[in-house]
């Protein structure tokens, strides 16, 4: 009896936060009541290992069955009694254990090592550290702790590589056609590759490239934000390069990807260095949702087949490569769990050669690729997903083309979209048009993702290896009926039709958060929900940008209005012409750096008479600000005030333009302030402080919140452009108003509320931002002193 063999034993498990690990823990707790479990878990950035287990493992729905059997209190008591957590990391030597951890390890009878980076596209070096060196480190730690433990190492069938025909249950490097590779040399090479790529990423030309890309993505968002974005881009680039390096190296040696390659070398390293530690290797194939334990269809995380299936059901994956008569080797998680526990229960004889057990379906109960595709297609025809407009999505029929053709098609599509995107982003779009551009970007993400799937998983649909399961079946044959019921690991029990259509696909769809009912999109209700959050009474601060957020105007227009209000007709025409000529260079300067632009532009106010400007600014309020206002925006400010929120205007506009005019809307106005000439009668054209732009806005807001004792996490900010990102990112509830292309894309990605506010329909529209004087010509001549503004 398996349960008897493990009775009173302490079993250490790595990787319990993963799919297989969670299922293992659940089954041990439920079906081996006499054992104790030690979990080796890596502490999170802000959480301890114990907290991680409580949050990420014990609350999982895998334990629902146990919870209902024992009651919530009984469940808690049982886990407290039987589950011990030690902090550690299989990616570091000695597993990062402290003395207490080592002491605990010394008392363990079995170690099940299931921690791995399972992503097929992990960077080479992290795959090497975890998958290649991990098993060896575990064995070393067992030996060092003086523990008698039996190590059950979870590997993968795909260590066999891209071979055709039978793959036996033997150590990889004992099999023919396996290249003789030194794992030590590979580890050294991987670490060197990381160092080389890191060095390359820091060369001036690369750094310039990252800075340029950051600017393209964020615009004039200010130095700190651009810098951190550039650094993120550099990190991402390094990671991409390492992924590419891993892929290339594995393919050169005949493995489909870095995962299989590092796992294979990991087995070799373990077997070479294990010394006296008793070892069993368990090799599952592609693990998918549970057949029946803990419940049919149970799955954790979004795994390999799921994204492919969902992309297919959404009509994104129009083609997928594969050999129709090939075998897709899928194995339900509960079968792998049972086989692993069985392996744990069979302690090898001292000095026995380590055994390899493969847990796969391909040779005993094959599922053909064509059959799978038919079942999936049939199922989604009967249970379609729905698009945003509530219309059912028709799934495409696959013609099983070669991988190369599909990859080419997708690459072409991606390039085309790229072109369109570049063209659109060069245009000054806002609001609805900007949303097209953002949706194009989304489309590109979809296409790129499809390409990634093809790249990554194509190999698995084309596998022609047949993983033998002789040892698994031998072990199965030795079990009594009770164990066969409790720990079923016979791949022949799977009824594929039933498994795919009634267990797996419903589970995948349920986990994928996709639209499965007809009817209109829920996007509307989403923005209604977000709006309700923004206008909740608990919020206490609402910060607003001015230009294009509350009014469709800018500092150039304000200036033009003030400068021309007292000009005669000929001078006005001349001014208009001059401004039109200057416009492109002004725009370019604005795009480069908003602060510099404002400073240089405001110089034009030098010498303007204070009194006259104050009088004209009031007229500007009606003729420019209100005329070009977004009534819905002003209404929103007032709604915030009515709720008792503080409202703050943060703008690069001049105090003379905004301060008096907008005072009743805002509790505070942070704006550009200009100094006067010594006699106090004229403006100097120089600002007293740095104008609030880019990160200065975020700082101004943070200062304000600090002064008033307000928490930015509860604050709302409204802005329209990517240059306002620092301000938007600083608050808990950012709102993108009429966002331009870049911000539109960012807001969509991050799920921010997007508001489209427009000018009052039917309102007056001036062709040129020229101050309209109401004086008749005869009177205008009487105005003494002209305008005093240098144009």
């Amino acid at each position: 009896m398996i349960a008897d063999a493990l009775d009173g034993k302490r079993i250490l498990i790595t990787g319990t936060t993963g799919f297989l690990g969670t299922a293992l823990l659940e089954r041990l707790l439920r079906c081996v009541p006499g054992c104790e479990v030690v979990l080796l878990v890596r502490p999170g950035r802000r959480t301890t290992a114990v907290q991680r287990v409580a949050r990420e493992v014990l609350r999982n729905d895998a334990f629902d069955r146990l919870r209902s059997e024992l009651g919530t209190d009984g469940y808690a008591a049982m886990t407290t009694r039987r589950v011990q957590v030690v902090g550690g990391d299989v990616g570091t030597d000695g597993l990062g254990l402290d003395d207490e951890g080592r002491a605990t390890l010394a008392t363990c009878d079995v170690v099940i090592h299931s921690a791995a980076t399972v992503a097929f596209d992990s960077p080479l070096d992290s795959a090497v550290e975890v998958n290649l060196l991990g098993p060896m480190r575990v064995a070393e730690a067992i030996r060092a702790a003086g523990s008698p433990a039996h190590l059950v190492a979870v590997s993968t069938c795909y260590v066999a590589g891209n071979r055709r025909g039978r793959a036996p249950e033997l150590p990889v490097f004992d099999q023919p056609f396996t290249p003789d590779v030194s794992w030590r040399a590979e580890v050294a090479a991987a670490r060197r590759t990381r160092a080389d790529i890191e060095a390359d990423s820091r060369t001036p030309s690369r750094l310039r490239g990252f800075a340029k890309d950051a600017r393209r993505e964020l615009g004039a968002a200010g130095t700190p934000l651009l810098a951190s974005k550039a650094e993120k881009l550099r990190d991402a680039w390094v990671s991409d390069q390492l992924v590419e390096a891993g892929r290339a190296r594995s393919r050169s040696l005949g493995w489909p990807d870095a995962y299989a390659y590092t796992k294979a070398l990991g087995e070799r390293a373990l077997l070479e260095t294990r010394d006296q530690v008793p070892v069993t290797i368990v090799r599952p194939s592609i693990i998918e949702s549970a057949l029946s334990e803990p419940s049919p269809g149970w799955i954790r995380g979004f795994r390999m087949a799921e994204p492919v299936i969902i992309s297919y059901a959404q009509g994104l994956l129009k083609e997928f490569p594969g050999i129709p008569e090939g075998v897709v080797d899928v194995i339900p998680v509960d079968i792998v769990v049972a086989a692993t526990i069985d392996a744990a229960a069979r302690r090898p004889e001292p000095d026995a050669v380590p055994e390899v057990v493969q847990v796969a379906s391909g040779s005993a109960n094959p599922l053909r690729y064509r059959r799978l595709v038919e079942m999936v297609q049939q199922w989604f025809s009967e249970h379609p997903l729905y698009d945003a407009r509530g219309q059912p999505i028709v799934v495409p029929a696959w013609s099983f083309p070669g991988r190369g053709r599909v990859a080419n098609q997708l690459e072409r599509a991606s390039k085309l979209i790229d072109l369109g995107e570049k063209a659109l982003s060069a245009l000054p779009l806002r609001g609805t048009q900007a949303r097209w551009s953002a949706s194009l970007e989304e489309r590109k993400v979809d296409v790129d993702r499809a390409a990634t799937y093809v790249e990554l998983y194509g190999a698995y649909a084309e596998t022609e290896a047949s993983f033998s399961v002789d040892r698994l079946l031998q072990r199965w044959a030795t079990l009594d009926d009770a164990d066969r019921t409790t720990f079923c690991f016979d791949p022949k029990v799977i009824d594929w039709e039933r498994y795919v259509t009634t267990i797996h696909l419903p589970s995948v769809v349920a986990h994928a958060r996709v639209k499965t009912t007809p009817g209109a999109s829920n996007r509307q209700s989403r923005s209604v929900r977000l709006r309700a959050q923004v206008l909740a009474p608990e919020r206490h601060l609402a910060a607003f940008d001015l230009e294009n957020t509350l009014i469709a105007s800018n500092v150039v227009e304000s200036y033009s209005f003030l400068a021309t209000r007292r000009l005669d007709r000929a001078d006005r025409a001349r001014y208009a012409l001059k401004t039109l000529v200057e416009a492109p260079s002004l725009l370019a300067l604005d795009r480069r750096d908003r602060g510099d632009f404002l400073r240089s532009f405001y110089r034009r106010y030098e010498g303007a008479p204070v009194d006259q400007l104050a009088e004209d600014a009031q007229e500007l309020f009606s003729q420019l600000i209100l005329t070009k206002s977004f009534p819905a925006g002003f209404r929103r400010v007032r709604e915030h005030r009515a709720l008792g929120h503080r409202t703050v205007l943060i703008t690069g506009a001049l105090d003379i333009v905004v301060e008096r005019n907008l005072a009743p809307l805002f509790d505070d106005i942070v704006c550009a302030r200009m100094s006067r000439t010594p006699d106090g009668r004229r403006w100097s054209g120089e600002l007293t402080d740095a104008p609030p732009t880019g990160e200065a806005r975020a700082m101004a807001m943070a200062d304000y919140a600090g002064r008033e004792g307000l928490d930015l996490a509860e604050a709302v900010a409204y802005a329209d452009s990517a240059s306002d990102l620092p301000m938007l990112e600083a608050v808990g509830f950012p709102v993108a108003v009429n966002p331009e292309t870049r911000l539109s894309a960012i807001a969509r990605k991050r799920g921010w509320l997007v508001e489209t506010w427009d000018r009052s329909p039917g309102g007056p529209r001036a062709l040129l931002p020229i101050g309209t004087s109401t004086r008749p010509t005869s009177f205008r001549r009487d105005v003494p002193g002209g305008i005093g503004l240098t144009t």
């Binding site: 009052s760 008749p776 009177f779």
Partner: protein, 544 residues
Amino acid sequence: MSPPAPRRPGHEVVQGRAPRPGFVLEVDRSTPSTLFHHGEGFRLERLPVGSRIVYPSEAVPVLRHPEEAIRQALLQPVGQDPLPAQLFPGMKLTIAFDDVSLPLPKMRRPDIRQRVIEAVLDLAAEAGVDDVHLIAALALHRRMTEAELRHAVGDRVYDAFAPHGLLYNHDAEDPDNLTLVGHTELGEEVEINKRAAESDLLVYVNINLVSMDGGHKSTATGLSSYRSLRHHHNVKTMQHSRSFMDQHRSELHSSNWRMGKVLRDAGLKVFQIETTLNNDTFPKPFDFLQKREWEWSARDRMAFVAATSGLDRMSNRMKRNLFQSIEAPHDMTGVVAGEIEAVHAITTAKVFEQQLVPVSGQADVVTMGLPYISPYNVHSIMNPILVACLGLGYFFNMYRGKPLVREGGVVILSHPTPWEFHPVHHPSYIDFFEQVLADTTDPVEIEKRYEASFAEDEWYRHLYRTSYAYHGVHPFYMWYWCAHALQHVGAVIIVGGDPRAVRRLGFRPASTLPDALEMAEDTVGRDPSITHTHAPPLYMADVS
């Protein structure tokens, strides 16, 4: 009919063909299509045989020498000493005048106000008065712009007074410049402009376009504050004014008259000047609009075709600019000055002489073609709320006796009713439309739940005082103006309006007049009696 005004020197009228009175036409098969105003445009509609069309009277004769008539009125006022006798050096003189909402459309220069004010100022100068203020009595309306003030009072007066801060708009939200004069016997607060209250003489210059204008309402409303106005600008008053165009059956006027007495008892001396206009509303080439369709000449027909096809090609904004530039040729038919009540009796008779049209019996359905202008969208946009107010507030109330439409009947309005608002002039209207009407259209509910929050709103107050916005409470008044009609009629249908905007008003949209008439049958039954009000030019139905 009212007794004719007594003849006085200077009041000789221009003699010509005697104007034909207004009348009711019964539509038969030979009746040509009928003109409907339709915002910045027109429609020709064929009304069912048997329908009635009420036509206004033709323009009555105007004064041959208006300047002389004005001078005579000032020198020989009714019920008061001549103006020169009331003027003395060192006195405080305030001249208040009607704002941009009168007359409609704005009149050609010189405006009546300019003529009257210049005459008053001449007498004041002769008498050595040097403390003179001129105040646009706009109550809670938007401030007048410089151009509008210049149009009303003339450049000479403007340039002499405005630069010194002596010509300005009344500010009903300036606590420092309002005086609480007293309370009426019903406890209504009477608060008016401080300068006016403290003047030795207040001269009020009226343009009495319709019978509602003038009398005690001039000062008690035009120069008052929200605190004072709310006592008569409310749902209850409007539902008890049947109609507010008929002073003797108008609760609105009763309240204003009570306030007028409080002002008089407090010692405020008012020299009331009221002027009347003929209904010559449209200049060439639009003069066909005030002709009867069967009398249209070939030129009129061409003008109509040219106008409509030209308008079809224009944007709303262009059409609006074109129409708002119309200056009416209407001219003065009378001017009376002196004691408020005596003056107002004469003026009202004069207004009725031009506007009253006898109609016998009510109708199941009344159709109205609404023009591009109402008192509150001069140089602005006639937004949906103003459409409702013009139809159900003004046109519906242009009756004496009983409404033209029977109780439970249907009013059909024709207007494009675009979902458009002037962002500077009507900011509180936008919010009223988006927030209040989206919630309820019941005037009583609206008054109870929303009025205070709009009326006392700091932002609207700021816009009213420093920009050119109607007061925050003004859209409510527009809706209250409809209260009597909303209570009286069974349904309101708008032909050719933006369906979304029409539904927001609580009305039903129809794309054509026949559709609307068919929809009306749901409310009033088969084969209803139909009456079309052929206005403007404005007239007042004397329904028996």
